[in-house]
């Protein structure tokens, strides 16, 4: 399994990293918080830790720590728009149920 990106997500990540001017990778992960158990982490990455898993898709380097990978392996990161709002979406096959807003989830 791996982490993948849709074209739209890859395009936006590349643009955002370029705009930021430093860091070359995107860090994905989970944190135990939120109304339904876990929340996603989506950050710029300046450093890779020793035991991090590194994926690459469509020219974007993605870093995931080993613990988080258990919960998000197979995720496809998408970029979408809802009205005026736009941002990233985790299409995570591991999710059993999520809170109404989709910001936190359970596996």
């Amino acid at each position: 399994m791996a982490i993948t990106l849709t074209d739209a997500a890859a395009e936006h990540v590349t643009r955002f990293i370029e705009n930021r001017g430093k860091g070359e990778a995107l860090r994905l992960g989970v944190k135990t918080n939120g109304c339904s158990g876990m929340g996603y982490v989506l950050e710029f990455a300046d450093a890779v830790d020793e035991d991090d898993n590194v994926f690459e898709d469509k020219g974007v380097k993605i870093i995931v720590d080993p613990k988080s990978l258990l919960y998000i392996d197979g995720t496809e990161l998408d970029y979408g728009r809802e009205g005026l709002n736009e941002g990233f979406k985790f299409n995570n096959p591991n999710v059993k149920d999520a809170c109404g807003c989709g910001e936190s989830f359970n596996v």
């Binding site: 990540v13 930021r20 860091g23 710029f44 009205g83 005026l84 709002n85 941002g87 979406k89």
Partner: protein
Amino acid sequence: MALLQISEPGQTTAPHQHKLAAGIDLGTTNSLVASLRSGMAETIADENGQHLLPSVVQFLGKQDEGFHSAYQTEVGYQAQQNASADPLNTIISVKRYMGRGLDDLKKHSIYNFVAEEDSVVPRIRTIAGDVSAVEVSAEILKTLKQRAVDALGDDLTGAVITVPAYFDDAQRQATKDAAKLAGLNVLRLINEPTAAAVAYGLDSGSEGTHVIYDLGGGTFDISILKLTKGVFEVLSTAGDSALGGDDLDHAIADWILTEAQINDPDAGLLRRILDAARQAKETLSEQQSTTLSIDLGNGEVWESQLSLQQLEKLIKPLIRKTLVPCRRALRDAKIEVEDIQDVVMVGGSTRVPLVRQMVGEFFNTEPLVDIDPDKVVAIGAARQADVLVGNKSEDDMLLLDVTPLSLGLETMGGLAEKVIHRNTTIPVARAQDFTTFKDGQTAMAIHVVQGERELISDCRSLARFELRGIPPMVAGAARIRVTFQIDADGLLSVSAREETSGVESSIQVKPSYGLSDGEIENMLKDSFSHAQDDIDARKLREEQVEADRVVEALLAALAEDGEALLSVEEQVVIQQAIDELAEIAKNSDQRAIKLKIEHVDKVTAEFAQRRMDASINKALSGQRVDDLNNK
């Protein structure tokens, strides 16, 4: 499913805990809202893809109870379109009315202003009731806020709103009030030029001095900022409140009027000519030549070519005019052109190539033009807002601004004592000690003023308050510490404290009248042109105050010890000297007063000596030498 943004390392927030922030450029003509998404600051467009929101509010009627707003309104493009059909209920350029009093407003406005008896805030009479400038601005802010909430997917934690560097306390306070009314949490008000510098990331760059050249539709502002150790400091600001892109249009329109031999155009024709002029100006920003075509209204159409060269000849004198405040700002900041690292261009008029060229030549550096000059201020505000809500752990920016005019208080004789000088960086607190003028004085009136002139009558009164309960002491013995404090938003509070007794009094300055850029400009100009007069006036007043003090002290001394220590002849001589001094002090001959005071000093020297001896005798009488030694 919620949409997520990329955070800085380690800054991911818990679900529903996002720290969303927006930057708002609340402009006279147009307003914008911007926010940072995935580290990228961008202005937010409405559902039609429009980034600019015309700062126009049309009042339609009262809202039913239970709604967020008390009024039914139309804000933006729709309101702008309706303005000519419904002029009295459609408020344009409300920013000009922020923090102003009724008298200011009636002069230059078409609206029906009314002042309520119990309030100094003037209101505009509309179909929906009487509304204040703050309420009108709040409608604009509400629209922008809603746009940001829709775009970011959640409520805002806070917002940074920009104001002109010249905005005074009343105007800043009014802006904050409007934000509160719109349900916005104001993280900070920052000056427009400072926001522009932040937009270009000059804050994260190397240390240096930067110029912000802001040529808007109707005003010109120049600011010089200095970056040291990651801290922004505004060294100076200057400007011309009656110079902008509109003037460029007028210069072209005047040329058209001459060329087309139109002597007396009606309002409609003039409007068409001005529109054509503006269009030509915009076209010539990209092309070498353009065709003007104007419907003269009498069935004829006038046509002509305007070349870039001709245009530049027309507008060159106006652009040259902007360089005068540039020089003044350099002088105020005490720096040379060589010290300038970057020049940031702000305002739509800086799209004109000649402006870029002349500014570049003046400052001897290529101006920064990469960010849309209309959006640059909002983008900078968004970046600052993002830092203030805590989305950035590292290299936090701390912004410093300056006071546009000196702040001080009135001292005896109607003189202005400056406590915080013009162009002092804020936030700032300055204290100065004052004392009582009369024996047994138990209260002190503190009159807070703003301005550069030496006499109170030439400065602007901001507030008055009293410090009461000063213990009775001889004149000059009380120590009253007056502290002026300006917070990061540029709002002033003044407190006074008598040090020996600890009595205190303070005031938050929320003056009811604001100053326009033009008035501030005039106050500054006056202070330069009247510099010598002011110094002379100050010297005279100081001498007069000194004369009063001498007269006061001598009369008190005479009443106390005159009979006991002086012969009748001596009393007459002193009394006569006092009378003469009191008389001369009424005239405006400073030298004569000074000489007379010296004369009085001489005449009363013997009296002073005797009083001294008498009081020593009194203190020593009845005491043994041993007692004194033991003390």
